[in-house]
């Protein structure tokens, strides 16, 4: 995953609250076992929304309502948004698993106070472009600054483009082994299926 690079683009406003992962990625397409090419399924049961998105020129920024991405853990929702070209989403709040999935796929999921977001939505609807600075956690639009937040660790990861898994192994392999040795002694019933180290 490449690290985040600041960019400027238009935004699409999706005001509805509680847009769940079934709306973003209908369950019947979950039979697909790949990650690529899922953009065609995003919002499939919301043709009016897709039309409006297309008319807006398919911008890579979404300004969404509260609790965006609530519901299922399906990472397909994030892969499909990524596939349709979404790179950043701002909302008053997010479904937590969805937000973690965004970070793992290089999508900025920024929390923005409802009032700030409403002002930004008005600017976006008026056709102003948004500039996203993740390190500074600020969107700039028509010379005004709109602050947002991304949890520290997610921001670090997005900016550096780290692979979480290999990074854990490289930096914390010893810590994990030490934890395991200690747990074997204190909670041996969790280790009965494994031969002694």
């Amino acid at each position: 995953m490449p690290g985040f690079i600041p960019f400027t683009a238009n935004a699409f406003v999706l005001e509805e609250d509680d847009v769940d992962t079934d709306i973003i990625f209908p369950a019947r397409f979950l039979l697909h076992t790949e990650r690529q090419g899922l953009g065609r399924f995003a919002f499939r049961d919301r043709p009016a929304l897709l039309d409006a998105y297309a008319r807006a020129g398919k911008p890579p920024i979404l300004l969404a309502g509260a609790n965006f991405g609530c519901g299922s853990s399906r990472e397909h929702a994030v892969w499909s948004l990524h596939g349709m070209g979404v790179a950043a989403i701002f909302a008053p709040s997010f479904g937590e698993i969805f937000r973690g999935n965004c970070a793992n796929n290089g999508i900025v999921a920024g929390g923005m106070a409802a009032g700030t977001l409403a002002r930004l939505q008005a600017m976006a609807n008026a056709g102003h472009a948004l500039s996203i600075d993740l390190a500074g956690q600020t969107v700039t639009c028509a010379a005004q600054a709109f602050p947002f937040t991304v949890p520290d660790s997610d921001r670090e990861m997005l900016l550096a483009g780290w692979n979480t898994t290999t990074r854990i192994l490289a930096l914390h392999g010893k810590d994990i082994a030490a934890f395991e040795t200690s747990q074997r002694a204190t909670a041996p019933w969790l280790w009965t299926e494994e031969a002694d180290a």
Partner: protein, 461 residues
């Protein structure tokens, strides 16, 4: 250094016991003791392992089972849908390649992940458990730190046995008093979601307490914890007690003999201190809770069955074909579904069976029972429940997720109204354009028989 003097919540205790590294960017590296896998959320996780040349660190801590995509109307022979067949075959092949135990579709141990894991004793108090599925909080009913994760995270867990996770705040939900007859923990959790909202628990781990929780069975506690995510909480907990230990003892994967004694000694320490500080407390009066039914397209759009539809988002009311100011009672239903990881355990089936005993479903209603596991199905058959359901006109299915997520061929047609024991009434959840009302097993059975939504307390005493 940990301070033994400061009071802690159950969640804090579990978190502390699984912290490998305390992070300085808001997340801790948490050790994961157990991982459940199913066919839908893991194909890409195994890709992640392959792409990076990684192996599974502790295969014995992983357990895989097909549940979401599997047909439930029939079993045996090949799966008809090509994509589903390939998806299930891929899970089996991936498990073989990486040394993970796979519970075959045809086997005795198959079923919905959140039903079979406790049944097998794979779920235990005090462990951390994850699954690429948002209803993983179900296992919190045992006092386990259990939460749903994404597919990338499933790969991270397999390779490292850890995850970077943000520690939640503590929310206590206290249910004082006892439930009225025909009111269940399903109604308790729906009432809570209605009160705090679908995003009301975001960032919080919930712990349930009070008389109505302490007196609840393990099945009922699992129903309660299962839907924490519908209020935005990834973690939902009940402190383990004798009810928990009695339920678990002797299960195939639970500790045995001296190990069991040692484990129980530890498990008894898993509770919130009396003076533990919660960031937030919600008080519920269990005795005042009526059977709940959802009227909209989010689980927080819920009401007592004897009430009137409140003013709600126009889009939701229109989608559902309901009107503000009118009752739900009397609204005709086309489908009745008893199943899902929320309400497909033996007690749920018994509760529904008790309501239907001797009666038949109304004309024009399609009704089905999908047990949560093959073992549950067999138990129900041993008790004669299958015959009872079939005589009443219900279809009796094999175990799986089925109409909860409608990706296995079971589907509610567009515009049709369904009353369902599952956990999500989202737009399109049971099929594109399908209208879903969530309720308890007794309420669903009662509606199937009446042909419309009824108050089970009034019609079936």
């Amino acid at each position: 250094m940990t301070s033994h003097a400061s009071p802690r919540t159950l969640y804090d205790r579990l978190w502390g016991a699984h912290t490998v590294v305390r992070g300085d960017a808001g997340k801790d590296l948490i050790y994961i003791d157990r991982h459940l896998l199913h066919e839908v959320s893991t194909p890409q996780s195994f890709e992640l392992l392959r792409d990076n040349g990684l192996v599974v660190r502790r295969p014995a801590t992983q357990l895989a089972v097909p549940d979401h995509a599997v047909p439930t109307a029939e079993r045996g022979g090949t799966i008809r849908g090509e994509l589903a067949r390939k998806q299930v075959a891929l899970l089996e092949a991936n498990c073989a390649e990486f040394g993970i135990e796979y519970l075959a579709l045809e086997g005795q141990q198959q079923g919905i992940v959140h039903v079979i894991s406790p049944e097998q004793g794979f779920t235990m108090p005090g462990i951390s458990l994850v699954c690429g599925d948002s209803h993983t909080a179900t296992h919190g009913a045992f006092g386990a730190l259990a939460f749903g994760i994404g597919a990338s995270e499933c790969g991270t867990v397999m390779a490292t046995q850890t995850l970077w996770q943000a520690r939640n705040r503590n929310l206590r939900v206290h249910y004082a008093g006892t439930l009225q007859p025909h009111v269940t923990t399903k109604d308790m959790i729906l009432a809570l979601i209605g009160k705090i909202g679908a995003g009301g628990g975001i960032g919080h781990a919930m712990e349930f307490s009070g008389e109505a929780v302490a007196s609840a069975s393990m099945e009922a506690r699992m129903t309660l914890c299962n839907m924490g995510i519908e209020a935005g909480s990834r973690v939902a907990l009940v402190a383990p007690d004798d009810t928990t230990f009695t339920w678990l003892e002797g299960r195939p994967r639970a500790p045995q003999g001296a190990m069991w004694e040692k484990a129980v000694m530890y498990w008894r320490t898993l509770r919130s201190d009396d003076d533990a500080v919660f960031d937030r407390i919600v008080e519920m009066d269990a005795g005042a809770i009526a059977p709940q039914v959802t009227f909209g397209t989010s689980p927080d759009q819920v009401m007592p069955v004897d009430g009137l539809v409140p003013a709600g988002p126009a889009r939701a009311l229109e989608y559902m074909g309901v009107e503000a100011g009118r009752p739900l009672v009397g609204l005709g239903v086309d489908y009745a579904f008893i199943g899902s990881c929320t309400n497909s355990r033996i007690e749920d089936l018994r509760a529904a069976a008790q309501v239907i005993r001797g009666r038949r479903i109304a004309q024009g209603v399609t009704a089905m029972v999908v047990p949560g596991s093959t073992a549950t199905k067999q138990q129900a058959e041993a008790e004669g429940l299958d015959r009872l359901f079939e005589q009443a006109g219900f279809a009796w299915h094999h175990a799986g997720c089925s109409l909860c997520v409608a990706m296995n061929g079971d589907v509610v047609p567009e515009g049709k109204r369904s009353i369902s024991t599952s956990n999500r009434n989202f737009e399109g959840r049971q099929g594109a354009g399908a209208r879903t009302h969530l309720a308890s097993p007794a309420m669903v059975a009662a509606a199937a028989i009446a042909g419309h939504i009824v108050d089970v307390r009034k019609e079936f005493l």
